[in-house]
C-alpha cells in the first residue's frame, strides 16, 4: 500500500476521532498538527471546536514532540479559580493528544513527575514509521529550492521549479528515529492505524560509540566545533517536554551561572548542563535537534547520557508509568547514607528500588 | 548622539529612611564640574544609577532642581544593582546617566492650577521632587493637596520634610498609615479611602498619582465620582528598562516607550495603551 494512503487514512481517522471526542464532550481540546506553510513542515495545533478538526493532518514530517504542549493545554481547560482558593474538586476537563512511541514515553514521564494527571489525558496512539529530517532532504539538494515533497511508500518525491527527483525515505529519516526501538506508543487510549512492531536494533548507540572511541582531544575538537555556532536562542530547551523549570538556570540572575553573550564556555556549559538535567528522562525524541536553526547536533549529549543510564540502571526512560525515575527516586533509608558518605555507591545501590511502602520513598518532580 | 557612559558621582550622604532599612536616600554630587554645569532636570524624570560590576538600575529623582546642585535618589533594595547600591558608603563613587524621560509638566499644563498629589509607598520620591519645585515658586500654583500613605509610621519617608510641610500652612497635607500603630496619632486608612474623604473638586486642578497599581485603581473611582476626568490625572509608569534611550525596546507598552515617551502620562493616554505595564 502507498504511504500517502496510509497517512491519508491516519489523517482521516484522527479527524474522525477528534470530532467524536469534542462532540461528546469527552475532551475539551485535542493537540495535533495542521499543515505547514512550507514543504516538509507542520504546525502544532490545539483543536477546541469541530470546524478545526478538518485542519488536522498526519504525515512523515511531524518532528516536534506534542507532549511539550500538554501541561499548558491541560491548565487552559481547567475551571478558572482564584489562586488563593483551593483547587476546585469537581473533575476537570480532559485533553486528547496524538502520541507516537517517544511522545507517549514523555507523557509517561510527565505523569511520573506529577506534571500531568493520567485521568485527564486521552492518548491517541499512532505508531511512527520514523519522521523525516527536513535538513537531510535539503542537504541532498544544495542550491535548490524545494517546492513540494510527496510521500510514497518507501520514497519521497521532491519537486522544485526545474526538477523532480525520487529519494529513499529511510535515508532521510532522522538519526534518532533510525536508532529507535520503540516506535509504537507505550500508553494508548485510542489507537489509530496499525501497531508498529518494536524494532530490533543491534547498535542503538552506535553514533555515541563512534564518538566514545575517539581520543579526548578529538572529542573536545568535535564538541567545540559542533557547538560553536550556537546563538543561544534556546529553541532546543523550549521545545523539550522535559525542560519546564519556572526559571532555567541560564536565566537565573542571582546567582548568574552563565554569561549572556556568545562565549564558548557559557554555550558549552548550557548544553552540557541541559543534557545532564535530561538524564534518565530523555526519550531521544529528537525535537531539540530538529528545531535548531543552526543545525547543531546537541542530541549526541543526551544520547550519551541515555546510554549511561541504561548501562548503570538498566532503565529506558518513560516505559512504565509506575516505574521510579532513576535519578530522582530513592528510599528514605538511603538519605542518611548519601549525606553521610559521598563515596561511590556500592553496586547493590546502583539500581534503586522503591521501598515497599509508597510513602517512604521520596520523589522529586 | 546618545551615550551609555555614566557621569562619575560621589556619595556625600546616606540616610536610612525606613525601619526595615529597605529604603535609603543617597545624596549624590558630580565629580566633574562640567557635568555639574551641564545638568538640568525636571521632577518626574529619572536616572540610571550604576555600580561597576553590578550594572545599572533606573531610579526616580527625589530632589528638585531648586534644591541646589546635589541630587537625591531614594533607592528601594530589590534587585542586584539596588542591593549593591545599598552596600556603598559615604565617599564611594558610582555612575549616573540621565536625566531620562519627560517629567511632570509643572511649567506647562500644571502652572496656575490647583495640585493634588497622591502617593503610596516609596513612589512618593518623585512627588517629593515635584512638591519641592512647586514650593520654590508657590505663587505660581493654586491650592496644594498632598496625600501620602505608607504601611506603618516606620515606613514613611522624609520625616523632616513632612514636619516642615505640615507647619507651612499653605499645603493641605494628609499623611496616613494602613493600620493603627502605637504612638501614631495621625490618619489611619488606605490612600484611596483618605483620598475619597479629602479630595478637592476638579475645577482648574490636576492630580499627580504615584503608587502601586492597586492603589491607583482604587483611588480613581472616588475622584471620578466628584467629576475628575482622565486628562487631569497624571501617572508615572514603571516598566523594566535597560538603555533608557528608547532603543532597547524593553520598556515598551504597545507602541509607547516608557523611558522615552514617559514615564509620565495622563490617565487618558494610559487608557489608550494596551495593558502591558
Amino acid at each position: 500500500m502507498n504511504m500517502a494512503t496510509i497517512n491519508d487514512q491516519i489523517t482521516d481517522e484522527i479527524r474522525k476521532e477528534a470530532r467524536r471526542l469534542l462532540k461528546t464532550g469527552e475532551v475539551a481540546a485535542l493537540i495535533g498538527y495542521a499543515a505547514g506553510s512550507l514543504p516538509m513542515t507542520v504546525k502544532p495545533l490545539v483543536v477546541r471546536c469541530l470546524e478545526d478538526c478538518e485542519r488536522l493532518v498526519w504525515n512523515t514530517f511531524c518532528v516536534l514532540n506534542l507532549a511539550t504542549y500538554l501541561p499548558e493545554v491541560l491548565s487552559s481547560v481547567e475551571t478558572p479559580y482564584d489562586p488563593r482558593d483551593p483547587r476546585p474538586e469537581e473533575p476537570q476537563a480532559k485533553v486528547a493528544i496524538l502520541a507516537t512511541g517517544c511522545w507517549s514515553r514523555n507523557i509517561v514521564i510527565q505523569i511520573q513527575e506529577k506534571r500531568v494527571d493520567r485521568e485527564r489525558v486521552v492518548v491517541i496512539g499512532v505508531g511512527s514509521r520514523g519522521m523525516v529530517s527536513r535538513a537531510k532532504v535539503k542537504a541532498l539538494f544544495p542550491e535548490k529550492d524545494i517546492l513540494t515533497v510527496d510521500e510514497g511508500d518507501h520514497e519521497l518525491v521532491v519537486h522544485g521549479a526545474d526538477f523532480t527527483e525520487t529519494i529513499n525515505r529511510w535515508a532521510v529519516v532522522r538519526d534518532n528515529c533510525q536508532t529507535c526501538a520503540h516506535p509504537d506508543p507505550v500508553l494508548v487510549d485510542i489507537r489509530i492505524g496499525e501497531p508498529v512492531s518494536e524494532r530490533k536494533n543491534p547498535h542503538p548507540f552506535q553514533q555515541v560509540e563512534l564518538l566514545e572511541q575517539r581520543s579526548s582531544e578529538e572529542r573536545w575538537a568535535w564538541f567545540t566545533a559542533e557547538f560553536s555556532t550556537c546563538i543561544r536562542c534556546y529553541a532546543c530547551r523550549n521545545v523539550c517536554p522535559l525542560c519546564y523549570c519556572p526559571t532555567c538556570f541560564v536565566d537565573d540572575a542571582r546567582p548568574q551561572w552563565l554569561g549572556k553573550s556568545l562565549d564558548a564556555v557559557d554555550t558549552g556549559l548550557f548544553h552540557v548542563l541541559r543534557a545532564f538535567h535530561c538524564a534518565g528522562r530523555c526519550t531521544d525524541c529528537g525535537a531539540c535537534e530538529s528545531v535548531c536553526p543552526m543545525g547543531i547536533n546537541m542530541r549526541m549529549l543526551t544520547k550519551k547520557l541515555n546510554k549511561d543510564v541504561r548501562d548503570l540502571y538498566g532503565i529506558e526512560a518513560g516505559m512504565e508509568p509506575e516505574a521510579p525515575l532513576p535519578l530522582t527516586t530513592f528510599p528514605l533509608a538511603s538519605v542518611e547514607f548519601i549525606v553521610a558518605d559521598l563515596a561511590p555507591l556500592p553496586a547493590a545501590a546502583r539500581i534503586v528500588q522503591p521501598s515497599s511502602e509508597g510513602d517512604e520513598s521520596c520523589k522529586h518532580g | 548622539m546618545i551615550s551609555y557612559m555614566p557621569y562619575p558621582v560621589r556619595i556625600d550622604d546616606i540616610v536610612v529612611e525606613t525601619e526595615d532599612g529597605s529604603l535609603k536616600t543617597f545624596t549624590l554630587a558630580f565629580e566633574q564640574e562640567r557635568h555639574q554645569k551641564a545638568w538640568q532636570h525636571v521632577p518626574g524624570q529619572f536616572v540610571m544609577l550604576s555600580v561597576a560590576g553590578a550594572g545599572e538600575a533606573p531610579v526616580g529623582l527625589a530632589s528638585s532642581p531648586t534644591e541646589g546642585e546635589r541630587l537625591l535618589c531614594t533607592v528601594n533594595r530589590a534587585g542586584l544593582v539596588t542591593t549593591a547600591l545599598h552596600q556603598l558608603k559615604v565617599g564611594d563613587r558610582l555612575g549616573l546617566r540621565g536625566p531620562i524621560g519627560n517629567g511632570f509638566p509643572l511649567d506647562r499644563e500644571m502652572k496656575g492650577k490647583n495640585l493634588v498629589m497622591i502617593a503610596g509607598g516609596f513612589a512618593v520620591t518623585i512627588l517629593r521632587a515635584a512638591l519641592m519645585s512647586v514650593l520654590a515658586r508657590r505663587q505660581d500654583y493654586g491650592r496644594i493637596t498632598f496625600i501620602y500613605g505608607a504601611r506603618t509610621p516606620g515606613m514613611l519617608l522624609y520625616h523632616e520634610e513632612l514636619r516642615q510641610w505640615a507647619q507651612r500652612g499653605d499645603i493641605d497635607l494628609y499623611v496616613t498609615i494602613d493600620r493603627e500603630a502605637p504612638g501614631w496619632a495621625g490618619l489611619v486608612g488606605f490612600v484611596p479611602t483618605i483620598a475619597a474623604q479629602v479630595a478637592p473638586p476638579p475645577t482648574n486642578s490636576v492630580a499627580l498619582i504615584c503608587g502601586p497599581p492597586i492603589m491607583i485603581k482604587f483611588t480613581m473611582p472616588p475622584l471620578e465620582a466628584i467629576g475628575w476626568t482622565d486628562d487631569q490625572v497624571y501617572l508615572s509608569l514603571e516598566n523594566r528598562m535597560k538603555c533608557g534611550q528608547g532603543l532597547c525596546c524593553h520598556c515598551n507598552v504597545g507602541p509607547t516607550l516608557v523611558c522615552k515617551d514617559g514615564p509620565v502620562f495622563t490617565r487618558a493616554q494610559v487608557k489608550r495603551l494596551p495593558l502591558e505595564y
Binding site: 517546492l147 555556532t229 536562542c233 | 557612559m5 524593553h250
Partner: protein
C-alpha cells in the same frame, strides 16, 4: 555613480586587492573548525586567494552582527582592590579599520537602512556603518520563502550597498554606490558597462519591484486602531503554538532588542550590550516579579506588532525586509506572511 562591467577573474583580483588592506568576510556555509571566530557565527574571514561560494538566496546569517555585535562592549573598568582607577568606566578601544562584507543580498542591505532608523543616534552602531563596506549581489533566484517585494524591496535593488554586482551572461555589472564603494575600486582599470548591459539591468528592475500590496498593506495597518489588531483572535492560535524561543529574533536582520549587563572576571570588568528577545519571559519581568507580558500569547503578539505596527507607526516602513529566514527556521512554522495577511484581513472585517 559609475557602472562597470567586470569579469569573474577581474572580480577575484579585486577581492585579493581588498584583502591586502581590509578584513574581508564571506558567508560561512559549514561549521568552523574551531570555536574561535573573529566575527559572528555564519560569517568567516578569508585570506587572499581563498575560495568562497555565495549561496542562493539570503546568506545563512544576516549582516546584523557586523553592526550590532553579540556582544558589544560599551565600557571597561577595573575592580581589583588598590587599583588606582577602581570602578572608573572607560570607553573601549575602537577600531576604525574598514571591513568588507562580501556576498550581501539586497534584503540584508535593506535591513541595515531600516536599522539605522532607530539607531541613528547610537554612536556604536553608526561607527560600524562608517567602517563597514557592503559588497552585494543582486538575486537571480527567488526562493519560496523570499518575499522582499512584498516588503517594499526587490531582488534587484541595491539600496544600502556600497558596491552591487549583478550577474550577466559573461560577468557582472558592478555599480559603485557610495564613497566607500569608490575607495574599493579606486585605481582599478575597469570597462564601463555598455548601453545594452545597462538596459538589461534596467529591464530587470522594471519587472521586479515592490508589489503594490506593500504600500497598501502598510497604509492600512498604520491607519488601523491598535486595539483592533491587538485584540484579534488570531493571536490565540499563534501564541499557543509558539514555543517562545529566540530563533526568529536572533536570525532576523531587523530585530534589535538588547539587554545590558556588567561582567567581571578576576577584577577586570566590562559593561556589554547583548541580543535579547521579546519572546523570553524575563525580557519584561519587573524586579517585583510582576510581568506585563507574562503570557506566551502576549510575547508572540508583541514581536509581530512591533514589526508590523509599532515600528511603522514610529518610523514609517515595516521592520521586515522579507528575507524569509524566520519562516524557514521557525520550529513551529509561524509564517510572518500569514500573520501579515491575517492582520490586514482583520482591518477589512467589520
Amino acid at each position: 555613480m559609475q557602472t562597470w562591467m567586470i569579469s569573474p577573474v577581474e572580480l577575484d583580483g579585486l577581492i585579493q586587492q581588498w584583502q591586502k588592506s581590509y578584513a574581508v568576510y564571506v558567508p560561512a556555509l559549514s561549521k568552523p573548525a574551531t570555536a574561535a571566530t573573529d566575527c559572528a557565527p555564519g560569517w568567516r574571514r578569508i585570506n587572499a586567494g581563498e575560495p568562497w561560494t555565495l549561496p542562493v538566496g539570503p546568506t545563512p546569517a544576516s549582516v546584523k552582527s557586523f553592526y550590532f555585535p553579540q556582544p558589544e562592549i560599551l565600557m571597561t573598568f577595573h575592580l581589583e582592590e588598590n587599583h588606582p582607577d577602581k570602578g572608573v568606566m572607560r570607553e573601549p578601544l575602537k577600531s576604525h579599520e574598514m571591513q568588507v562584507v562580501l556576498g550581501v543580498r539586497p534584503c540584508d542591505a535593506a535591513s541595515v537602512l531600516l536599522n539605522q532608523l532607530p539607531f541613528t543616534e547610537d554612536p556604536l552602531f553608526m561607527a560600524k556603518c562608517q567602517r563597514t563596506a557592503l559588497v552585494g549581489f543582486t538575486c537571480t533566484t527567488r526562493l519560496s520563502t523570499c518575499f522582499c517585494t512584498e516588503m517594499g524591496g526587490s531582488p534587484h535593488h541595491c539600496a544600502g550597498l556600497d558596491l552591487a554586482l549583478s550577474p550577466l551572461q559573461n560577468g557582472f555589472l558592478l555599480e559603485v554606490l557610495s564613497e566607500k564603494g569608490e575607495t574599493l575600486v579606486a585605481g582599478c582599470k575597469l570597462v564601463p558597462a555598455s548601453e545594452s548591459d545597462l538596459a538589461v539591468l534596467a529591464d530587470r528592475r522594471q519587472g521586479q519591484g515592490a508589489t503594490s500590496s506593500y504600500s497598501s498593506q502598510l497604509e492600512v495597518l498604520k491607519a488601523c486602531a491598535l486595539s483592533r489588531l491587538y485584540d484579534a483572535p488570531m493571536w490565540q492560535e499563534l501564541g499557543e503554538a509558539c514555543i517562545n524561543c529566540g530563533a526568529c529574533t536572533f536570525i532576523c536582520p531587523t530585530c534589535f532588542c538588547f539587554d545590558m549587563q556588567d561582567e567581571v572576571v578576576q577584577g577586570q570588568g566590562r559593561r556589554i550590550r547583548y541580543w535579547d528577545s521579546c519572546m523570553f519571559p524575563l525580557y519584561s519581568q519587573h524586579t517585583s516579579g510582576h510581568n506585563p507580558r507574562g503570557k506566551k500569547l502576549q510575547r508572540t503578539r508583541n514581536r509581530f506588532l512591533h514589526k508590523l505596527k509599532y515600528f511603522p507607526d514610529r518610523f514609517g516602513p515595516f521592520s521586515c525586509v522579507g528575507c524569509g529566514r524566520c519562516i524557514g527556521d521557525c520550529p513551529v512554522n509561524i509564517d510572518i506572511r500569514e500573520v501579515l495577511n491575517d492582520l490586514v484581513r482583520r482591518t477589512e472585517l467589520e
